[in-house]
């Protein structure tokens, strides 16, 4: 039915689609484990993406000629600005929800409005600066360093294509997901963090600094999610930023959190499944244009089914953190 080369291409494309989702959901899992339901993730990923674009733009414009580009700087400057932007966004969310105890849903949605607007606004401003004909900024020189692949990957046939054909940020996503998974389940710090998310009052009584845990988890989570935006712009889109290009991937990342039942290690295969569901309509022959739209529903429908099954089966280890979405105030105990 399908030739093996189609399957290999499909898998490779699924991974590429899945990586931004993996970043987003790893960040969100870490955040949710502290009891913060950060619905600002889509906005934060936009901010991370535009942060990388601004960094790369400044760097490319500071060069006398494109040939002078230095790999270290070309990677570090966008990386640094992405981290800075997404960290500040996370910090703002924390300040409002943890210190000022604002409603998390409202704050998160406001942050998404702000972040998406921020990304599109600065994206459009950069487009205007470059005086380009097309409504997008192309940063191909910097992007070339992000998309650089292992030199021998091309010689290894299908193995090379499926496993070795990605830029370094793709592997970083998997490493980060594994590290977060180990941190959450195998270390004392992870245990403390989960305690905060389940029952902050108990955690507080046990001497864990609840606010600090929430701040740390949420800010680090934001940075991880922001890297998803960077990966999208610099690797997936080859350094081309166009407004609204990132689409609804941020919400899909939140869906993936549920699909992975709050475990980053499950999110790794989960992200590939989601990536595959996202593009499967391109690979099924004879799908009409209109049915493609129905196929794009799949990731969300699958998430709803998982959400329902998790709530019906009521397995303790698969539940959302018990205090998810609630602010903690010591005097309320």
């Amino acid at each position: 039915m399908f030739s093996s080369s189609v399957i290999i291409t499909f898998l490779q494309r699924a991974v590429i689609q899945g990586i931004p989702l993996l970043y987003g959901s790893t960040g969100e899992i870490l955040t949710e484990k502290s009891g913060n339901l950060n619905l600002g993730i889509p906005g934060i990923m936009y901010m991370g993406g535009i942060g990388g674009v601004i960094g790369a733009f400044l760097y490319e414009n500071s060069l006398a000629s494109k040939a002078d580009a230095n790999a270290f700087l070309a990677i570090c400057i966008p990386l640094f600005s992405t981290i800075l932007f997404s960290f500040l966004a996370g910090l703002l969310y924390c300040f409002l929800t943890v210190t000022l105890r604002a409603n998390q849903n409202v704050t998160g949605l406001a942050l998404t409005t702000f972040g998406v607007g921020f990304g599109n606004f600065f994206g459009a401003s950069l487009v205007k600066l470059t005086k380009a004909e097309v409504p997008s900024v192309a940063l191909t020189t910097t992007s070339a360093f992000f998309t650089k692949k292992l030199p021998f990957a091309a010689n290894l046939g299908w193995f090379g294509k499926i496993f070795l054909s990605y830029g370094f940020l793709a592997y970083a996503a998997i490493v980060i997901a594994i590290v977060v998974a180990i941190f959450l389940t195998k270390t004392r710090g992870g245990l403390h963090l989960r305690a905060v998310g389940e029952n902050p009052a108990t955690a507080d009584a046990a001497g864990i600094n609840v606010n600090r845990s929430k701040y740390l988890a949420t800010c680090i989570g934001s940075v991880i999610a922001g890297l998803g935006g960077l990966y999208y712009v610099m690797d997936y889109a080859n350094g081309v930023w166009s407004n609204e290009g990132f689409g609804d991937r941020g919400w899909l990342a939140i869906a993936l959190v549920i699909f992975a039942v709050w475990r980053p290690n499950f999110a790794i295969p989960g992200s590939i499944v989601f990536g595959g569901l996202y593009i499967i309509y391109l690979f099924i022959p004879g799908v009409s244009l209109r049915s493609q739209e129905l196929f794009k529903m799949l990731p969300y429908v699958v998430t709803i089914i998982v959400l329902i099954m998790v709530s019906i089966r009521k397995k303790k280890e698969n539940q959302p953190p018990a205090s998810l979405g609630l602010s903690y105030f010591r005097e309320d105990r």
Binding site: T99, T107, G117, F121, D248
Partner: protein, 368 residues
Amino acid sequence: MQNEKKVREPLFHIAKRPAIAWHKAWGIRALSILAALIFAGIVAMALTGENPLAIYATMIKGCFSSERRIWMLLQTLVMLLCVSLAVTPAFKMHFWNIGAEGQVLIGGLATAACMIYFGDKLPPWLLIIVMVICSMAAGAIWALIPAIFKAKFNTNETLFTLMMNYVGIQLVSYFVIVWENPKGSGHVGVINQVSQAGWLPTIGNQKYMLSVIVVLALTVFMYIYLKYSKHGYELTVVGESENTARYIGVNVNKVIIRTMLLSGAICGIAGLLLVGGTDHTISTTTAGGRGFTAIMVSWLAKFNPLYMIATSFLLAFFERGASEISTIFHLDQAFSDIISGIILFFIIGSEFFINYQIKFTKPAKEVK
């Protein structure tokens, strides 16, 4: 000196305020809006290089300078208010319905379907009745699905309703291609342009008058429903404490389902007004993010329908005003999102000072 003490006294501590006088609470909110305006003015100045006062003058002009603009502002206001009214009973019940976007879209989709399929088959008055019923039913069903699972299995409604939005959006984009006109354009185009079948009547030659009247009626209805009806009382109790509700004999599951049906049906009306009343077409952006903005409108107004007129005015003003700035100063449309975001952050933050007070520790008396 400080280091010698074994226990360092914190500089201040935070305590819950007892109920605060309403004028103080609104004073704090007004101050926060003022602070937000100043901050947003600085941001706008940095981006445009213009005098902030000139920027605000442009915003006000953009909203009020002509009769057409005032109507546009009113339309933005009432549509936002309509969706906010829809989500409010659910929020009051502590059911985080963030699926209004999808519920509005599905309501609009049902309206468009009636207009397209029955446009030349039914007499005009019957067609409009069918549209009203279908749009409300469609919105209600979209809200009912998460409600049933919440009631039966306690499925997380925030995430469920969020996902339902995207299922709804994809369903709409499927039908947009099915109905596209002309073929291959990717748009539905104006439905029944010639016959105008299913177009809601215009009152007094004003395109937006009907929405304004319907939404005002809904506002009054919702105020009475929440404040004076038994249903309103029951859903408030469920929101405050499910156990208390059970104890006093409220059927919690029934209340959840009933409230969500109402919430979804009003979203359906919003879809009806948008598709049948003003746009006469449908696209994935018909709801235009109102489902999300409405959550903030409702929350800022403390779930009080009358206050919501003020909060939706505020957000509508910024949306229209910022879009005027972006036209005049050649900025991207996304500018209005940044400004709305800043305003929201300030107001959200100000709630803290209404609910809590900071008590500075008095210098400790030397006890020797």
